[in-house]
Symmetry: C2
Subunit: 559 residues, 2 copies
Amino acid sequence: MTQTTMGHYLWQRLKQMGIRYVFGVPGDFNLQLLEQLSEVDGIEFVGTCNELNAAYAADGYARSNGIAALITTYGVGDLSALCGVAGSFAEHIPVVMISGVPPMYAIRNRLQLHHTMAEGNFDNVRTALKQFTLTDACLTPANASQEIDRALNYCWQERCPVYLQVPSNLSYLEIKTNDVPITRAPAGFDSRQQQSAMGAIQAKFAKAKRPVMLIDMDAERAQISDQLQQLADRYNIPYASFLTGKAILDETSPLWLGYYPASAESSLSQWLNQADLILATAPCYQEGSPIAVGLPTEQTIYLQGFEVTIAGDVYEGVNAQVLLDSMLEQGLTCTHRSDHPKPPSRRGATYQAQQPLRHEQLWPQIGQYFRGTDIVIGENGCANIALQTLPFPKGCHYIAQPIWGSIGFTLPALLGSMLAQPSKRHWLFIGDGSFQMTAQELSTLLQRGLKPVIVLLNNAGYTIERYIFGKQARYNDIAQWNYQALLDALAPNIRVNYQKVNTHEELAQTLDALTNEQATFIEIQLDPLDAPARLQQFGASFAEFDYGPRGPQHPKKTT
Amino acid sequence: MTQTTMGHYLWQRLKQMGIRYVFGVPGDFNLQLLEQLSEVDGIEFVGTCNELNAAYAADGYARSNGIAALITTYGVGDLSALCGVAGSFAEHIPVVMISGVPPMYAIRNRLQLHHTMAEGNFDNVRTALKQFTLTDACLTPANASQEIDRALNYCWQERCPVYLQVPSNLSYLEIKTNDVPITRAPAGFDSRQQQSAMGAIQAKFAKAKRPVMLIDMDAERAQISDQLQQLADRYNIPYASFLTGKAILDETSPLWLGYYPASAESSLSQWLNQADLILATAPCYQEGSPIAVGLPTEQTIYLQGFEVTIAGDVYEGVNAQVLLDSMLEQGLTCTHRSDHPKPPSRRGATYQAQQPLRHEQLWPQIGQYFRGTDIVIGENGCANIALQTLPFPKGCHYIAQPIWGSIGFTLPALLGSMLAQPSKRHWLFIGDGSFQMTAQELSTLLQRGLKPVIVLLNNAGYTIERYIFGKQARYNDIAQWNYQALLDALAPNIRVNYQKVNTHEELAQTLDALTNEQATFIEIQLDPLDAPARLQQFGASFAEFDYGPRGPQHPKKTT
């Protein structure tokens, strides 16, 4: 045990976890922490325009870096960031949220402060944050080193945000510290459970004639994507992805069956109906998905980070990562048939060069330009829905927020992801309604010299809402902006390749000419009611779900 | 009792309370409510760029209209708006927050939905909102009319936000309704308590030789400003304002003593020390104020909305508005001296026309242009601190958020206040750091044809934080924007009078030429370390408060 200050210890531990950037906004209760951050080499503050954007940026950074940190000031900062933190909680993204809070004596004596309700209550903010974080602590010199380490381990191992309050008058105090560096250690597990789960899985595979793997987002969160791909490749196991598990496994493989759920007539659905073993990892989202009615219990293995359910029998206390590693080491005995369906054919890009851009032809055209080293980010709405079923090249990574679905998330997330993976080309596809939510963060992104390809789908409003309800309604319209002027406004001295494209030919010319010399901003003008076919279907089914079969979406049925 | 739908009843009740605009963002769980809103004449949806901005706009609308409403969609919308709602709670601003939430059957069956944690928990969002609202309810056909009326009465009478959840599949169902229109009725009270409180106050005044009134923001919230002014004028009672109670009473009156707290040598402090009766209404904020050590109990009457404390004796169950009305009707017997100090002299604007603008001379120059019918909005930081002590003409109204202090609040609040008081000229003074937080809302403001005078104090960062800690630190710097281009970007077809001014002469020319023909945006370039003198002192005292007397703001004292 040696001595260091609370603040320095915190930043050093975050750095040891591989966090290079901390997103946030300064405020009087966190300035001393920011000063300490500036004193630690190899970890750096990235000021964003507001705290919600900081939370989104941290989430994006964690998705491409593994784990992230966010710093806010008490009350105003915490609550402004909350929607972003809740998104990380919903989507299992590890973010350490650090709040500079009032001095301990003010909390203890319930002083009436600014950034509070001025009535001496310091529980309300923490209670609100508790709802959307895995664990929380208010650091003191007595508890700091153990609480910091505990929170960081939790955050990493359980892939969820955690919340640490640092009273402003304590972070310069010395604390006893743990000298062993903290690492991204896997969570512990029970070896006998693990062994017995593995035996049960091996037995299932040994008997299976028609096995299949179904991949959802938590496979990536549990960091088992590589092992699952190896398992599929080595044992010739076909696989499909949930729409929310897009591009986690290779979509160009002959083992690839397509996106789940699929239509009843699809070869995927038919294969699944006949499957005698489904390794599912692990659907965490049911609404609008047939998983709501369940996969067949007897045939299904649900694999989660710390839990496997095999034919209804739950094995707690396992570690999926270690389990898959051992399974790959020990090997499977497989006797299954190899007559699984062929991969879905890839539709070539066909379009009429002079025609105005429409969703139907737009996405196949764009998809041709994706490379296996790209990161593609799809905002909720038209972009995500179109990208979810657009075939990606092998290795091309996809970021979206399909569960929490907070529009505006992706622009700051792009900032975060690019800082984590600066050598990867990043694409962002975003509608104008979403873009306007968090538009100012383009400033931080461009002024840091980052060079993404941003494709703005300008359809003058919330087209996803239009297809749910209010197709012609004014409440689904938004203001038109001049996006070229916006680039000048937010990054006055940065050259950005701005292109407004109306036809497929113009788009092709723009995409053909892409370089990594500068950021590119492509504005695509779309009809407000043009939308991907899946969004149109999805909108109608959402209306049924939300308003009921006698809801106002059926005018004649309402009273 | 007649029948109408839940949604229509809600909007009609809000309209009866005098709400003309409802701020918010559409989402699938609230589209049916927005449709119903569009069907009720005389109340209108104002879509903002994001939900936090909607909450700030609603707060600003309530400050100038009396009460406001906000509509969000479940989860993402609620949490995005939360910081703004908490601000309304801290500052006692009545805002009805309406959330379109998932269909009742989904809540009841704990379905795993988008905009939730996808684990069937629908309590977390409501728990978070509960911390910062006075009351909340999830509407059902059985409870809707009584819960709506209860929440609206609470909101109005207690001047605090309330939270109503409307399940998306219920708002088109018919409910039994209350036919008596809802009004801005004052809260009930106990007549004997009221009578006895009034007697005690009258007795205090009858004996007082040196009475004084001390006004804080809750006087305005309790809507007793007019009565207090009448009381002062009729009985020649001198008065001072808390800094947080700026411009509630006439600052040009001979009874005006200045801003409290004041320096020990000031005539106000000396008069207060000799005062034998202090009518204080009602300090709700203590940090950084001598009220923390208390006014003398025996001599002080604390008057709050529903409570009077007279020489330490608490009278619950009164209604300050009714109490003051009766007091004005019955009259006071006053025998006090009239040798109170003269009003503080108004410093004329003196400046060297060709010199770069500096805070010291800037504010008196600007103050000359305020009219008694203007509304002035001061963002936290330099603007609010300078404006708090700038003498205002009689009737000129001031809006700020000194307790919650969430930067970025004022730009959307300007939108709200202007919609409430379109005939009043509005000024907004805001630093660049605050402006960038919520900048996109300029789009809504300008594109609706509103014509404020916005003065942007461009000092390349958070100068208030610089004076607390990190004077030269990079974490207190922000990106430079081109604000003229921003106007083109956010309101492409609106003519805005943009002026960049560097000298007092340029500022004078710009202010002399102001018209109400178009919006004006004045960008003032300031040195990053130029700040009002009070902010410089305030910064140092905040650092002592936050980091302690051995904190890092004293480099030699730290280890």
